[in-house]
Every structure is written in C-alpha cells, then in structure tokens.
Symmetry: C2
Subunit: 340 residues, 2 copies
C-alpha cells in the first residue's frame, strides 16, 4: 500500500502542541502515514484549507476545526474519512458529509474514559460525604462525630441519564464496587443491552426519584437541551447527590440554583453555564456543592491522535472502526451551539 | 442438626446496637442458630463471661471483647469457633486459642472492602489533584488555568505496601481503570500470585522510590511498627502522593511531619497518631494533605455479623471458611497495643 497522506486540520498551535507527540510520530511511521501538521510551527488561522485538502487521503480534526461538509470537500475525491481528535462531531461534519460517502470517526471513547473516571471519583465523594468528613489542606475542619452520615454503596441506587461512551466506561468501573442497584434512562438502549452492564432500564423520572446518586451523562441535542427543570429536581431524594460531568445545559439554570439553595440535596459539577464560573456567581456561595474546573475529560489527550491514526489504518485495511459515527448517531451528539 | 447456641460477647450496648440488625435475626433463623446478645438491653461490662460461656457452641466478638484464650475457654468443650465481627484478631485470641484446637474467623474481608473503596477514592483524588482543582462548598476557590497539573492514571505507577484483604479488593477495583503499573511489597506473596492481580512484586524501597501513588496497607505488627522513617520518605518522588488508610504507626511521626512540611509531595490520611487529630496539631497546618476522620472502614458494618454467622454455618457443615485466621496469620495482624 502506498504511503497515505494525512492532514491535521487545525490552525491553532496550542492544539497541535497538545495533540502531536512522540507516540503520534511513531504510530505514523509504523502505519506508513505521512502526516502534515501546519500549526506545529505557529498559529495559521488564515489557512485556505479548501486549497490544501485535495492532496490528502484523510483528515484529523479537533476543537474549532472547520466543518468538513460536502462543500469544503467538494474537490477532494481521495478523502475517505474524517477523524476527530476530541469528542462530539456535531459541528465537525454535517449530513452532507455522510451523503458524500465520507466516513467519520472520533476519539470520544478515549475522552469518555477520563470523564467516567471523574464520574467514579464523584460517586465515591458522594457516598462517603466528603463535604462533611474531610479536611482539605489547612482550609477547613473535619467532623469527628462517630455516627458518620455516609452511604453504603452496596445499598445505594445509582441513576444515570444517557447511555453513551462515558456511561459504558463508568458501568465497567463500578462493577467491582457492587453498587446496590443501577438504573439507566436511555432512549437508544434496550433493557437487555443494559442488563449486560448490570443496569436496569428506567424512565427519566425514575432516575431522579429513586437514585441516591444521579449522573447526567446525556448529550446536549435538541431533545435534551434544558430538559431538566423544577419538576425533575423536586423529585430528587433528600440527601442524594446530583452529579454533572456532562453538560450544564441539560438543566435549567434558575430552578437548579433555587433547589440547591434549599440544601435538600448535594451536587458535584464539572460543567457550568459560564466558564470560568464567575467569582460573583450565586453558585459559588452554595455550601452543598463540589466544583471542578471542567477538567473531567482532561487526561488521556495524548492518546487521541494515535487512536485516530489507528482508526484510519483499520479503514484502509477494510476493518471495522471502533469509534465510527453514523448519520443517526451524529444527530444525537452534543451540539455546543445549542442554548448559547 | 440441633439448634446451635451462639453468644455475642460484648458488654457495650453501642456495639450490640451497631452490629445486631434485622438481617442478623433472619440469618440466625435461617441457619437455626439461637443467638444471645446480652448488651442489647444495656451496657453489661461487669458480665462474668467465663460463667456464661460453657452454654455456647460459638462466640461472636468485636472491638474490646475479652481475649478468647485457653484460660477464658478452659471449661467450654462445646466452643469450636470464635468469629470476630471486626478486623484484626491480634487481641481477640492468642496462641493458646489455637493450641486448644479452636478455630478463628474474622469479618476483616468485609471491612477491608470499605477501606479499599476509600483507597480507590484517595487514588482518584491524588491523580486528579483535587487539592488544586476543586472548590468544596463555599470554602475555597478553584484554579481554572487550563494546563492542568493532573496525572494520567494509565501512565502512573501505583505502589502498595502490604498484600492483605484491603490490597486484594483494591487491585480488583483498580483493574478496569488500567493503571500504568502496579508494584506491591509483600513478604508473604509470591511474584506469580501478585501477577494474577496485575501487580509486580518489589521491595519497600521501590514502592517509595518509583510510585506516583503510595498506599500503606501493611499491618502494624512487631516487624512493621514505625518501619517508615526519613530514609524511605526521602525516596518519594516530587509531586507523588502518600496515602495511609491503614495505620498511622507504620510511619515515624516527626520525620513524616518534617518531610510533609517541605511540600515536596502530598498525602491523604485516614489514620492519626492521636484521634481525633488535636486542633493544635502541626499536621492540621499542612497545605498539601487531605484528611478523613478514620472513617475509611465505616461502611458495611451491618454485614459483619451475618458474615460471621455464615462462617459458623460453614464450619458446622464441614465446609472451608472464607475468613479463617491461622496461627501464622495471627502473628502478622495489626496489634493495636504496639507503639502506644
């Protein structure tokens, strides 16, 4: 097979530096790929990608890469696949990409593993009530009262909204901890496929009403945007913990703030309506919430491009892809433009 | 088989209330056991256990129960087994118990699962550097700088001192997270038995010198008491995290304090030289340490006595026990009297 030519289509030097590493170089060599990364030298935001693209067999994209629709790729018969070194491809391709017969894959499964790790950490912080029973550096004091108000994970119900890559990883990570019960609300998964992961299929209302730990891991698409409001939040059990490592805009902001201010339940959030969370945000005053600075999916980025290069190799060899996104899945992925 | 008579030998009402629950009652009924729990009514610390014991076929002990040595049991030919509803039996039996042919079991494996869960939580708090990147309630502020100083667990080395029940559970819990490398220092485990858990056998020095995350999970016996001093602590890599969910007295106090004050590495501790940790302790001033109030093993206590009752049933049926402690193991278990 002749050397395949691949373009990493980002104009941002920071992304080129983040994603391009020794492992990428070695993987390219091993697979006989010639990869061009124009932004490795300096920002090149004014690049005329349309002019460059016809030379290449495959394209790597990442955050803020241009949308690879049929128009951009109109003069590129050699391009057979787009590989996204990040998560959702909602803005990276559109339906015309699929019409043109171009295949699409993403490193979402890799990033989802990091988000699942954060979700596991949050689950354990919630059941062990670290807000009450932990001293962080010299910042606060810890409660030594011996009748600890902690949950036994083995007698807890974990409810998850969404059955995407993050949930799959999380269910694998939870298995050796033997949670009491796991319930999942998903339109796209059957009861039997959930049972393979030790989970029961349930409604969105059941996730909120029955869970001790609630994970919001659905994508922000037209159906889910701001879908959680006062009605669902009022269903949450006293003392339960609402965990959002997915997207802030799954939940309506004002009802969320008001329900948290009652201190009836706790929360752990990695995602915010405005980032960084403003210093004067009323959310910063809540005593019952733990925040992390949208870093749940941060680790493992050095594996994104090697994964995509291996996806390209699988396609050129005619093998199935591990991260392929089809026309239907594209419609349900998080679209960052929604609700802005 | 005739109904077996069992005595829960604690004089403390608080322990009777902690451990005796509906599940114990149902398990006893199912197994045809008649269990007496004198302390359920009120503290009975002046009970003459030696007088009561000859009536029984088995004895349940817990923290501060008297030592079931040959002297206490000299007139009790019916007693075949002691079941400890807690962890170490170092103070609950002595070598004369084994000489008398009495078998010994413990719910240590159940408690160890809770400590392993805490150890997993601590591992994740360490790799994700929650001290730097988390806001706890309205207590502090979080760092939003985007070049997060976090570890990738998949490229981290986890070092563990001790291969007891807690380590076994922890290794099972870590498996789906695929840590880069796991090294274990254990006198009692072979390289091949560790390999079954995905771990490599190594020396104590290697645990300290090569690990990004160090777990102290050895028992405090004569060999291990205060075994870690300045020499080992100086081996710790900059930015690593020392995690102690086992026993404070594995480590010498002053060298530990001095090394932590350099802020060269971080720590997470559930156990202390004096509990509660005094308000004026210099440990409370450390910025690089997370503390929990000796609650790592708190959850799951309601399962201790049902587990012991099932151990008794296995023995009466002639089946192997799950938590049996033999003469050799007894000598290596944590002895709370050491170093006090």
């Amino acid at each position: 097979m002749s050397t395949k030519k691949i373009l990493f289509m980002t104009g941002h030097k920071v992304y080129a530096d983040t994603f391009w590493n020794q492992d990428c170089i070695e993987t390219s060599r091993k697979l006989d790929f010639s990869v061009d990364v124009p932004a490795l030298q300096h920002d090149c935001l004014d690049t005329d990608w349309k002019k460059l693209l016809p030379d290449y067999d495959a394209v790597i994209t990442t955050w803020s890469s241009p949308c690879c629709n049929a128009k951009l790729l109109s003069n590129c018969p050699k391009i057979k696949i787009i590989g996204h070194a990040a998560g959702s491809v909602a803005m990276i391709v559109d339906q015309s990409t699929f019409d043109a017969g171009i295949r699409v894959t993403t490193a979402n499964y890799i990033m989802a593993e990091a988000v699942a790790e954060w979700s596991l950490l949050s689950t354990l912080m919630a059941v062990r009530n670290v807000l009450a029973y932990t001293q962080w550096g010299n910042q606060n004091s810890m409660n030594w009262k011996r009748a600890f108000d902690m949950r036994d994970l083995k007698r807890s119900t974990i409810g998850i909204w969404g059955m995407g890559d993050t949930t799959r990883h999380l269910l694998n990570m939870l298995a050796p901890l033997h949670p009491g019960r796991i319930i999942v609300c998903s339109n796209h998964s059957s009861a039997s496929s959930l049972a393979e992961f030790g989970a029961e299929k349930c409604s969105l209302e059941e996730v909120f009403a029955e869970s001790d730990i609630i994970h919001l891991l659905a994508g922000v698409n037209h159906e889910n945007l701001f879908r959680i409001g006062e009605k669902e939040l009022r269903l949450i059990k006293p003392g339960a913990t609402l965990i959002n490592g997915g997207r802030a805009r799954l939940v309506q902001e004002q009802p969320l703030l008001q329900e948290l201010q009652t201190e009836r339940f706790n929360a752990i959030f990695d995602v915010f309506y405005q980032e960084p969370l403003p210093e004067d945000s009323p959310f910063k005053q809540l005593k019952n919430v733990i925040y992390t600075p949208h870093n749940a999916g941060f680790t493992g980025r050095e594996r994104f491009v090697p994964f995509i290069l291996n996806e390209f190799a699988r396609m050129f060899r005619g093998e199935p892809l591990l991260g392929e996104i089809n026309r239907q899945r594209h419609l349900t992925m998080t679209d960052e433009r929604l609700g802005r």
